[in-house]
Subunit: 305 residues, 4 copies
Amino acid sequence: MKTELLLKEIHERYRSFNEGKLANYIPELAKVNPNLFAISIVTTDGEVFEAGDSQQLFTMQSSSKPFTYAMALSAFGRDKVREKVGVEPTGTSFNSIVEIEANTHRPYNPMVNAGAITISSMLSPEKSLEKRREEMLKFFGSFAGHELSIDETIYQSERSTAFRNRSIANLLRHFQVINGEIDGSLDLYFSQCSIQVNTRDLATMAATLANGGVHPSKYKVIDRDTVSDVLSIMLSCGMYDTAGEWAYQVGFPAKSGVSGCIFGVIPGKMGIAVYSPLINEHGHSVRGVKALQDLSYELKLHIFR
Amino acid sequence: MKTELLLKEIHERYRSFNEGKLANYIPELAKVNPNLFAISIVTTDGEVFEAGDSQQLFTMQSSSKPFTYAMALSAFGRDKVREKVGVEPTGTSFNSIVEIEANTHRPYNPMVNAGAITISSMLSPEKSLEKRREEMLKFFGSFAGHELSIDETIYQSERSTAFRNRSIANLLRHFQVINGEIDGSLDLYFSQCSIQVNTRDLATMAATLANGGVHPSKYKVIDRDTVSDVLSIMLSCGMYDTAGEWAYQVGFPAKSGVSGCIFGVIPGKMGIAVYSPLINEHGHSVRGVKALQDLSYELKLHIFR
Amino acid sequence: MKTELLLKEIHERYRSFNEGKLANYIPELAKVNPNLFAISIVTTDGEVFEAGDSQQLFTMQSSSKPFTYAMALSAFGRDKVREKVGVEPTGTSFNSIVEIEANTHRPYNPMVNAGAITISSMLSPEKSLEKRREEMLKFFGSFAGHELSIDETIYQSERSTAFRNRSIANLLRHFQVINGEIDGSLDLYFSQCSIQVNTRDLATMAATLANGGVHPSKYKVIDRDTVSDVLSIMLSCGMYDTAGEWAYQVGFPAKSGVSGCIFGVIPGKMGIAVYSPLINEHGHSVRGVKALQDLSYELKLHIFR
Amino acid sequence: MKTELLLKEIHERYRSFNEGKLANYIPELAKVNPNLFAISIVTTDGEVFEAGDSQQLFTMQSSSKPFTYAMALSAFGRDKVREKVGVEPTGTSFNSIVEIEANTHRPYNPMVNAGAITISSMLSPEKSLEKRREEMLKFFGSFAGHELSIDETIYQSERSTAFRNRSIANLLRHFQVINGEIDGSLDLYFSQCSIQVNTRDLATMAATLANGGVHPSKYKVIDRDTVSDVLSIMLSCGMYDTAGEWAYQVGFPAKSGVSGCIFGVIPGKMGIAVYSPLINEHGHSVRGVKALQDLSYELKLHIFR
């Protein structure tokens, strides 16, 4: 009740707040209605609180990265995954081209594109794209509690303009961080970015992490240890070069996507998802950051507060 | 009881583990007995558990940084302090010379030397060194519960060999992050590094943070909000370029000093301090890291586990 | 006469000098006979002096870069070429991945791969690879004085393993330094690297530069101003991160190729080419560097000596 | 005659060209008359051509660096000097703080402050500042052909505000590139920057270099080999991050000072000095660069033209 009212209040507080820009690196994202704004909370018991356009679908973009990381950890174990991808933040990088460690050539962490593409390359590289997509959608769907699908228009658009990601993949292949061919793994990466969800889906996925890997309706999705590894990385690296700021001001693990979504995990309590497509210079939803800061403060969700 | 036994077991487990080297950047630190090894836990209720050389004094070195940061936050408030010093991790820096942000010229965070020296420069710069030391010792002493003192031999040694710190201070002065003269602020910084404690002292100081800024014997030292800011920074930046690894494997805020000490804070529960002078290439006590990893696992202290 | 003897003496001096390694980034280069060693001098009058295996063919690799740069300068003029590619050395880069300027995203200069690939992208991008190759071979051939050809085995090998170059090309495309498709331009770049010459050919090409753009047999190939621009870049950037050392010790414009060739230009006097496939950590022929140092000293070829 | 007229024409061409700013890093430099503009040419035979304020004194600043480098080379030989200071350009550095090589910790070259301060530290460190200054003034004076003196006001001003240089010196001391105390060496460095000359003096000093180390009035100052080393470094590193541009457009060794002076050396022919205190963002005199470009073009002074 109180939570429901608070969500509506916060939604009202920022709905006409118009800072930020639509992502324009692919044409489709720039066509979105900039006024869209949704907040959903799903508790570990499965209770749902919502405000705004919570049925509006959007593509996950980078908010998919914690889940493919979980998928790789579940399949190969922590040690094997860490051989390929590190766990350190990149720092306020002067030059965002460099996402790989100078000595090891490993990507810094699975939350930057280089890391996520490497994770993709580990997921059934011997199978067809169709099969790999199917496995991924099944895994993501078990977090959400229902089948998910890919926005093929966004997928095609990402695929045909992703020069930077193609540059990264070739560099990783050069350093033999990725072995074998890279085109299929890039296609899988573009696919994960193009998975469609609404805030209720995303908050449910977050609630599954908050619930130790068990879906609010009580079936197990991943191990508790995998959850702990995913949340640790989200806290230290999930918000890129504002990770320190985020830990300071908001204080719970979160991950944003350039489509305008952010989700947060409050262990033992709830998952939260916000969506609003106007983003700031760091790629985070402007209304989303505001809403999560206020929620952290008013619901006392900061891990150290 | 159980905790006591566990400490003794862990102490026994690593006491003859001889990896690492004595810090040699000042001659005094290189003369220490490499076999020293102590672990202390102090709960928020003031219960004490110990193993090993828990009466052995050592200098705080960088483990003093969270406390001077707390001192500045208490004196000036969060906003004023953040104008001078950032809150982001530096990343796995290829070049440890650079601890300041490219655009703002602010130090990345208060846990790197550049940040800590800037914090020192804010603490009563108009007063004499003697007076500034007195205020600092009083502040630190209120965390420990008794008066603390400075190891003057270490202080003099640090002071006369600190070319790198003098380089940093001059650069900060050049960029006007520090105003006024720098020698006094450097002297205060060397003083804070040279404060003597044993693991019981340091664990008590940590317990005061764990207890929301209230000493286990119930008197208030700092605000709850200041504690939250200090712990956030410790978690994201306290262990330098192994911060991500630490969050992943140990999962509670901690800070190490090159003398061989590390302290950790488990909010609402306890402070932990370890001391053992053999350090690894990151400047962390080798036995200390091992002990804290095991304690995190066996007492379930990871924030996400 | 004297020059002939000197060449033989220097050849003898270093022929059994076995430092360095065969380039192994493509399998074909690693199969070469490591004892091959040739020196050729061609004067601006067309006189030829030689020692060693001067009929041995090898691929030009990076020694082709000054000529494609000349080709672009001739076709588009200095201003248009400089919009795309800078003229500054990269410095002793800690990280050879970064060959583009932080602000403009232009490659530092046409002697690094990023610059040479950008130059390739300017050369008749609207035409077929076959046609583009034909134009390039004609241009290069006019420097050598006869038709040149491409080593198709090397070409195919470079093409199928060039992940780093593909990474660079995609990054340049991302920053719109290169427009249009990149595969054809990469293929043209691999083609230029695979052009076959012997030291007499390469020394003749160098002599054409030394002679102000006029082939020793008196026909004009390029403008005098283009020659000046090419030589300036070769002097400041031709020997990568040993450019300063080279200017200091040898003191004439030169360019090396990873196949083991180096050519130098002494304006108004002669072109020199050496070939010997054992290379050092900078990618320069070990015997080649030795021979050119001695020649500079004994024939007084340093521009400031 | 023709040269005299050309100088007057070029002087006239740029005298009312008002781009650039006065150096303001020390108050004294910001007080200078911005309209000052002088050009002097001194041939290796001692002929003098001048235009504008050629009697106006100014401080040498960084234009002193080639001469202290020559002083160290003369005293210790090439090998010993190169152990301490490299010969490579720094590249278009993103971050001008870093002037030392990552692995060796040596300064990149003697033309950047780190290199020049290291050179200072080699010059009679055991003697008093007075004695060291005396030796330096004698050496510089032998290039100019008469006694030179230090502007003590500028010297004091530099000395009291040189936080960046003090930072560099401490870092070099930390890495033991400089041994012993650093204050005296910094004072010597500030002294060399504060030596007063006019353009005729500076052109005479340049003519001595152009003349193989022999003053136009026929007495020997330094060895021919030392001259060659100095000119090589000036060409590759003398104009900082515009070194490539300079080699491309102007094409002779030069060195600028932030007071607004630039001198160039045309081996076997002449020395040129210009002075005009409005400088660009690279620290080069705006009118000076223009004048030298035109002189290079009209007198055909480019080494490759």
